[in-house]
Structures are given as structure tokens and as C-alpha cells.
């Protein structure tokens, strides 16, 4: 087992591990760029008998933080996880790597000027999910899994937002929004015989505001949930 406990004051950390035997191998690397005051913890038991790596990591605190992790293994799979944020928040991540299969997850939360979280898997194609927030808060849970060729993300965002879901050449891109929203965002990217993408937002609109900004940001499969109350509006224009 490798064990790392890093205290405040560290600004840049790199961790790399790899293992192999009889042509089977796995490797993983973690990178941290964090402000003073961010706590970083990573624990990595190494399974010599099965050539595997199980990793848990966490960070927490107030300030800038940029965390990336990358994975690869026999059979051609590869993957990555990233989290960049500038406010108060945390990340908890787990990773299980074996030759020819892997899974990883990260749960993140942050409140502040910006946050961005994404995971990507390459396994006969690339599946990736990414969501971003500006001037608000974001909580997201993301996973990648090589056996089902899946990248998936669920997030609650209160603020400006954007997202990207890619499976093979299929991609759904939401540019950064032009206003602040309260929404749930569900994303799935899967590489099967036909790569599929799903990027569905559920907006929550307070009747004291207007529906039109959410309509302008919504994609065709999105849902806008409006609370009770009276909305005064000359017209609401829908063209998607």
C-alpha cells in the first residue's frame, strides 16, 4: 500500500504508479495544483496478485484547486478525471484499475466563481462528460466504466452553466449560459455499436422571474419546471 497525507502549504503534487506482469499492466497518475489551505489525501493499495490498483482520494478547502487523474491499462483502455474550482468545496474520488477493465468515480462540490468537472473514457472510442458552473454552486457525481463503455454525470447547478457530452463523434455541447439558473443536469455517453449521448437538464423557474431565459437555454429534450404563482409576460417564444 502507498499512502499519502499532504498538509496545508503544498502547491503542486504529482503521483504516478504502474504495475505489470506477463504482458498485463495498469498505470495511474494524479496531479494536484492547489492553494495553501486545501487538504489533499490519496490512498493507493496495490494488488500485486491480480495486478490492480485501488485508489481513493479527497481534497477539501477554500481556494483554487485543479485536480486531474489519468488511467490506462492493457487492452487499450484509457481514462481521465478532472476537477477545477475556485471556491469552497471538496472532491472525493475512487478508482479501480485492472488489466482490460477499470472504473472510476468522483463526487465534487464547490461554491464560488467557477467550477468544472469532467471524466473521460477511451475504449473503442471516447465517451466523456463535463459540466461547468460560474458564479454559483455545483455538486456533481460522475463515473466512467470500461466494461459498459460508459461515462455518466449527474449534477445540480445554481448559477451559470455549460456542459459537454461526447460519445465517439456524437457530441452535445452547451455553451456557457447567459444567465443564472437552478437546474439538475443528467448526462450519459456510451460507446456501443452506435455511440449514444444524453444531455438532459431540468430547469427550476421561480414564477417571480421569467420562463423565457430558461426556454432560450433549454435543448429540445430538456424540462422546465415552474413553481406556483402568476407569471406576467407578453409572450414566451419557443423555437427548439
Amino acid at each position: 500500500m502507498a499512502f499519502f497525507l499532504l498538509s496545508p502549504g503544498v502547491h503542486s503534487i504529482e503521483i504516478g504508479l504502474s504495475g505489470g506482469n506477463r504482458g498485463e499492466s495498469v498505470s495511474m497518475s494524479s496531479n494536484y495544483d492547489v492553494d495553501t489551505g486545501i487538504y489533499v489525501n490519496e490512498e493507493i493499495p496495490i494488488h500485486l496478485s491480480t495486478i490492480g490498483i485501488s485508489d481513493t482520494r479527497s481534497i477539501s478547502g477554500m481556494g483554487n484547486k485543479k485536480v486531474t487523474q489519468s488511467y490506462s491499462g492493457t487492452g487499450g483502455y484509457g481514462g481521465s478525471a478532472s476537477f477545477t474550482a475556485s471556491g469552497s468545496g471538496y472532491l472525493i474520488g475512487t478508482t479501480n484499475l485492472y488489466p482490460r477493465s477499470m472504473s472510476a468515480s468522483q463526487s465534487v462540490s464547490d461554491s464560488g466563481e467557477s467550477a468544472n468537472a469532467g471524466m473521460s473514457l477511451t475504449n473503442g472510442g471516447t465517451a466523456s462528460v463535463n459540466c461547468a458552473m460560474a458564479y454559483g454552486s455545483m455538486a456533481a457525481s460522475q463515473i466512467i466504466c470500461s466494461t459498459s463503455a460508459l461515462a455518466s454525470s449527474t449534477a445540480h447547478i445554481n448559477g451559470e452553466f455549460g456542459s459537454r457530452t461526447t460519445a465517439g463523434s456524437a457530441s452535445i455541447i452547451r455553451p456557457p449560459s447567459t444567465g443564472a439558473f437552478d437546474l439538475d443536469l443528467n448526462q450519459d455517453a456510451q460507446i456501443l455499436s452506435t455511440p449514444t449521448t444524453f444531455d438532459h437538464a431540468a430547469f427550476y423557474v421561480n414564477p417571480s422571474t421569467k420562463i423565457q431565459p430558461a426556454v432560450d437555454e433549454a435543448l429540445s429534450d430538456d424540462t422546465i419546471n415552474v413553481g406556483p404563482g402568476t407569471i406576467m409576460r407578453t409572450y414566451i417564444s419557443i423555437n427548439r
Partner: protein
């Protein structure tokens, strides 16, 4: 996209009310993209007065102006006014799967709906709407498919429930208790294919309690019934000036007669 309100009704502490505030249509769908698709549910749409149309000072679609595809479920469209289509002006597709289009006013044509596209009514109601001239419930210049629900208690001078200028397929549902001078249930200058459903208890103060089938009108009676309608002058069931095909025995128990002589 789907827009879900908290529920349709008049209580703003419990319901979502979208009020056009007597200016324009409340919703405009597909004006720049006819493939736009939206589901509207759980809300009351009211206070709209329509958008300008045609350059003659007319306004259309008090509650909704649609050139796209709208699914209506458990919403109330009421208290809207326009010259054409007090509730809805439609040149796209409307699928009504519940809720009501009620108490709207078309000062000229189509109290509930002015249709130049397709209206599919599967459930819900189109009721108590008023048109100054034609089509209290629906003015139809496109296709109306009635598979369920009801068109009831609407009023116009010509065609209390429906004025049909194109095609109405009545496969189920009920056209009932509508009133007009001509054609309490339907005034027809197009084609009606009745394959089911009922046209009942409508009333005309002149001709055609159930249907006033005007010149150019064609009625194909395949199934369903036309019964218990009343006309003050003639043609309690159907007042016919053109063509009726099919099973005339589906027309019965009307006052003062089932057909004009």
C-alpha cells in the same frame, strides 16, 4: 422541450398561471422553426390577446400561436381573446391529451381554436368558447381528429362546436350541447368522416341542430351516432344541402326531424 407547471387552476399559491397581461399571445411556438416541439402541462394560460396576422388588423392566437408541435396535458387555456382563435391559432400540430380550452373568445373565427394545421384531441375538453361568426369551439381549415374528449357548450353564429372548411375525422369523443344559428354541433363546408363518437344534444336556432351541411359539404357516416339534437326551423339531426354517404340510421331521435325533407 417540456414545460411543467405546478398545476392548472386559479390559485397562485398552488397553481402556475401564465398571464399574457392583455398583450400579444402568451406562448408563440415554432414561429422561426416549424419543427419546434413543446409539451405544456400543469399550468393555466390566460390573458392573451393574440399576435397580428394578415395585415388587416386581425390578431390571432390569444393564448397560443403555434406553427410547431404542441402537446397539451392537464393545462387550462382560458380567458384569452383574439379575432382568429381566441384560445389557440394553429398552423402546426396540436395534440390535446387532457386539460381544457375554455372560456376563450374569437371575435370572428374560432373561439377555442382556429386551425389551419392538425388538431388531435385524445382527451380533455374544448368548452364554453365563443366565436362572433364561425366555429365556437373550432374553426377548421386543416385536419381535426377527434379520438376522445369533448367539444361542448360552445357558441357561434355558424358552427357552434365546429365550423369545418376542410376535414374532420370523428373517431370517438363527444360533440355536445353546442349552440349556433346554423349547425349547433357542426357547420360543414368540407368533409366529415364519422367513424365513432357522438354528436348529441346540440341546438340550432335556425337549421341543423347536429350538423348544417352546406354547399360543398360531404358527410360520410360510418359509425357512432347523431342524436337528440334540435333545430328550431328544420334539420334537427342534419340539415343537408349537399352530400351524405353511409349509414343514415346513425342519425336518430332528433327534433323536429333527423333530416330536412
Amino acid at each position: 422541450m417540456t414545460i411543467n407547471g405546478a398545476g392548472a387552476g386559479n390559485d397562485p399559491t398552488k397553481n402556475t398561471i401564465v398571464d399574457g397581461h392583455q398583450a400579444d399571445s402568451v406562448f408563440i411556438v415554432g414561429q422561426n422553426n416549424p419543427s419546434a416541439r413543446v409539451t405544456l402541462s400543469g399550468m393555466t394560460i390566460t390573458g392573451g390577446t393574440g399576435n397580428p396576422i394578415g395585415g388587416f388588423g386581425y390578431r390571432a392566437g390569444g393564448g397560443i400561436w403555434n406553427a410547431g408541435i404542441i402537446n397539451l396535458g392537464n393545462s387550462i387555456i382560458s380567458g384569452n381573446t383574439a379575432d382568429l382563435g381566441g384560445g389557440i391559432y394553429n398552423e402546426g400540430t396540436i395534440n390535446q391529451n387532457g386539460g381544457s380550452i375554455s372560456d376563450n373568445t374569437g371575435s370572428s373565427y374560432g373561439g377555442g381554436i382556429f386551425n389551419e394545421g392538425t388538431v388531435n384531441q385524445n382527451s380533455g375538453s374544448i368548452s364554453t368558447n365563443t366565436a362572433g361568426l364561425y366555429g365556437g369551439g373550432i374553426y377548421n381549415a386543416g385536419t381535426v381528429n377527434l379520438d376522445g374528449g369533448s367539444i361542448a357548450c360552445n357558441n357561434a353564429y355558424y358552427g357552434g362546436g365546429i365550423f369545418n372548411f376542410a376535414t374532420v375525422n370523428l373517431n370517438g369523443g363527444l360533440i355536445s350541447s353546442n349552440t349556433a344559428n346554423y349547425g349547433g354541433g357542426i357547420a360543414n363546408e368540407g368533409t366529415i368522416n364519422q367513424n365513432g363518437g357522438s354528436i348529441a344534444s346540440n341546438a340550432a336556432s335556425s337549421y341543423g341542430g347536429g350538423i348544417f351541411n352546406d354547399y360543398g359539404g360531404k358527410i360520410n357516416l360510418n359509425d357512432g351516432s347523431i342524436d337528440h339534437n334540435a333545430a328550431k326551423v328544420d334539420g334537427g339531426g342534419i340539415y343537408n344541402l349537399d352530400t351524405i354517404n353511409g349509414r343514415k340510421n346513425l342519425v336518430h331521435d332528433n327534433t323536429p326531424n333527423d333530416f330536412n325533407p
